[in-house]
């Protein structure tokens, strides 16, 4: 059994010195989190809009996507009709989905990342298989930095979760930044100022 062998090797070889875990308190950056977050949006190639409430969210989405397109909308409060994913026989039917509208739980000011977990996702593939992704986030759910977001998520019960910072991208050909690698080719973040 390699398990036993590996663990015994480690027990025998590991350094004997005492190395303590560090203190994790780190001073947050200065500034209002919603302003810092907004500043990050162009830096991660995401489009950004503010909505005063959820009915305004729907208007913004119709303005950006006026045509007759295939949509999956996972936010009940946003009144935009779409495909009923619970009736899908195979997730592969979602290939080339035009738009997915998904709620982000928490957003991080220092890097523009938004947490999406399968607590809000009927299928994990949804934020990745769409050509365009809209993440909607409540203003009160923006936190300062990654330390804070992980601390807030302690005891969070999810099976899969992801921080998303912008549309998928690559610079693998001569270091030229190209937006739209294997995931969405376009991303819009909508910040809701009054979530009621």
């Amino acid at each position: 059994m390699s398990r036993k062998e590996i663990l015994e090797n480690i027990a025998r070889n590991k350094p004997s010195g005492e190395y303590k875990l560090p203190d994790l308190t780190i001073r947050p950056q200065e500034g209002k989190v919603d302003e810092l977050f907004e500043e990050m949006m162009p830096k991660v190639s995401a489009k950004f809009e503010k909505a005063k409430d959820y009915s305004a969210v729907a208007e913004i989405i119709r303005k950006h996507f006026p045509g007759d397109i295939r949509i999956v909308n996972l936010i009940e409060k946003v009144k935009i009709p779409g495909i009923n994913v619970s009736k899908l026989k195979n997730i592969k039917e979602l290939n080339l989905l035009d738009l997915a509208i998904i709620k982000g739980d928490l957003a991080v000011a220092e890097n523009g990342a938004i947490w999406v977990s399968d607590q809000n996702l009927p299928h994990r593939i949804l934020p990745f298989i769409c050509e365009n992704l809209i993440l909607v986030i409540d203003k009160k759910n923006i936190v300062n930095n990654m330390h804070e977001v992980y601390r807030l998520q302690n005891n969070l019960d999810y099976n899969y979760g992801v921080f998303i910072a912008g549309p998928s991208k690559t610079a693998d050909i001569e270091q030229s930044l190209v937006v739209g690698a294997q995931g969405p080719r376009n991303m819009l973040v909508i910040l809701v100022e009054n979530q009621a």
């Binding site: 070889n13 990050m40 930095n145 601390r151 910072a165 693998d172 294997q182």
Partner: protein
């Protein structure tokens, strides 16, 4: 037989224009890293903390692995242990065979490169598609990666265009990276939709929760794992960290160090298998547990594979990653490879100016340049050094170790450099003079000048 970095880089340097281009491309990334690091006032504090977390975990690695396994099992994940690359490949092959897998999509993993997983699976009739764009390019070109974060950094867009035209019949002569990336997207999407299994590497694994964290910009790890019914994550045992909260430190540093981005586009946390899916984690040792016993070298296990040391290294930038002929090139590769096979990689610790820039940019504070120096000493003491180097080092030790001899030798050299024809010095044995003119000798030594001045 492995070629030496000296011979390989000589070939690389023949194309001066390309060498300069490579040098600049990497320096550009290094500058982006500097800007990103400077935007965080507590950067140095983060480096200290990152290093401390890794040292703590490594010195308690057996307990944390047991904790990790226990929690992963509770999550419904299947956990496997591999003592070396061979066992890792066999385990993955067995998992795939038991599901009748014909086609696998793989996202970037230096570990599977280290274990040579692709050729193994292919020899068993399983098709492997690398899905990171850079990896896909070099896979089609049948080359190994030349950088751990930017695997195709050595290729020009014209070469990529030519390659795609040949393989996928894309428009000939269209060198636009946007066009080329889109063509790769179309081809890869077909692979994602037809794959039976997905394999990913792991950036971090959390003992407390049993979850693995995978960081990508392209989203390829996610598209792969969420579509295929079977997902396998391969990880080296040193990827472990104790708690979820420690991810805050590392996710803040990884992308900033690697490419200068504030964070990777996707930081994905896999805890449990998806509905009707199956999830496996393979824990790989491959001499890592042995390295823990080496007082001078165990801290190299702190590495989070950001590649910052490569981008800053004057040798790497002007030699190219392939010149190292090691799975991981650059400064970190030069201190990792001798742990796997000291004799085979004995030339790598010498391919450095010991300028220390690698250690300065390392987000987990590995003393890379010092370890390079330690390896030189250990290799010098053992019998694996090439004879010519050994003899010349012995002579130099004699000269430098004795002030009287040093003085005399200096005088002799100054006189002979002036009087003798340059062909005497610029010969084959003097590798220093290969691409250089010998310098003009000063009239007097520094010491002579200093003594005179004192009078």
């Amino acid at each position: 037989m492995r070629g030496s970095i000296k011979d390989n880089s000589e070939v690389f340097l023949k194309n001066e224009e390309r060498t300069n281009w490579h040098d600049k491309a990497l320096w550009f990334v290094r500058e982006k890293r500097d800007l990103a690091a400077k935007s965080i006032p507590e950067w140095e504090q983060l480096r200290e903390k990152a290093s401390a977390v890794k040292m703590h975990t490594l010195s308690n690695l057996d307990q944390y692995l047991i904790e990790f396994e226990e929690n992963a099992l509770k999550n419904g994940v299947k956990v496997h242990w591999a003592k070396d690359g061979e066992e890792h490949n066999r385990i993955i092959e067995e998992i795939l065979q038991s599901h009748q897998v014909k086609k696998v999509v793989k996202s970037k993993s230096m570990l599977t490169e280290e274990c040579h997983l692709n050729p193994h699976l292919e020899s068993k009739g399983i098709e492997v598609i690398d899905t990171d764009l850079g990896e896909r390019i070099i896979q089609l070109k049948k080359e190994p990666p030349s950088h751990i974060v930017m695997p195709a950094i050595h290729l020009k867009k014209e070469e990529v265009s030519e390659l795609f035209h040949e393989k996928w019949n894309t428009e000939k002569g269209n060198n636009d990276p946007v066009y080329l990336t889109y063509q790769a997207r179309l081809s890869l999407r077909k692979d994602f939709l037809t794959a039976d299994a997905a394999i990913t590497g792991v950036n971090f694994a959390v003992a407390e929760t049993g979850e693995v964290v995978v960081c990508t910009n392209e989203g390829n790890a996610d598209v792969g794992t969420h579509i295929a019914p079977l997902q396998i994550h391969s990880m080296g045992i040193e990827k472990l960290i104790p708690q979820r909260e420690h991810l805050g430190i590392f996710t803040r540093m990884l992308a900033r160090s690697a490419t200068g981005q504030p964070v990777t586009v996707y930081t994905s946390h896999f805890r449990k298998p998806k509905k009707e899916g199956e999830m496996h984690i393979v824990l790989v040792d491959n001499k890592r547990s042995e390295r823990l016993s080496k007082e001078k070298y165990w801290t190299s296990l702190k590495c989070i594979r950001c590649g910052a040391c490569m981008n800053t290294c004057p040798i790497y930038r002007r030699s190219g990653g392939h010149s190292y002929e090691a799975t991981i090139p650059g400064p970190i590769g030069s201190i990792l490879a001798p742990n796997l096979d000291t004799e085979k990689y004995s030339d790598l610790p010498f391919a450095s100016t010991l300028c220390g820039s690698c250690s300065d940019v390392c987000p987990v504070k590995i003393n890379i340049h010092e370890q390079l120096f330690f390896w030189r000493q250990d290799i010098g003491r053992s019998n694996v050094l090439p004879k010519s180097k050994k003899i010349s080092m012995k002579i130099m030790a004699g000269v430098l170790g004795n002030p009287a001899v040093y003085k005399m030798f200096g005088k002799m050299m100054r006189i002979s450099l002036k009087l003798l024809p340059s062909s005497i010095f610029e010969n084959k044995l003097n590798t220093w003079a290969k691409n250089r003119k010998m310098m003009e000798a000063p009239k007097e030594s520094f010491q002579e000048w200093y003594q005179k001045r004192k009078k």
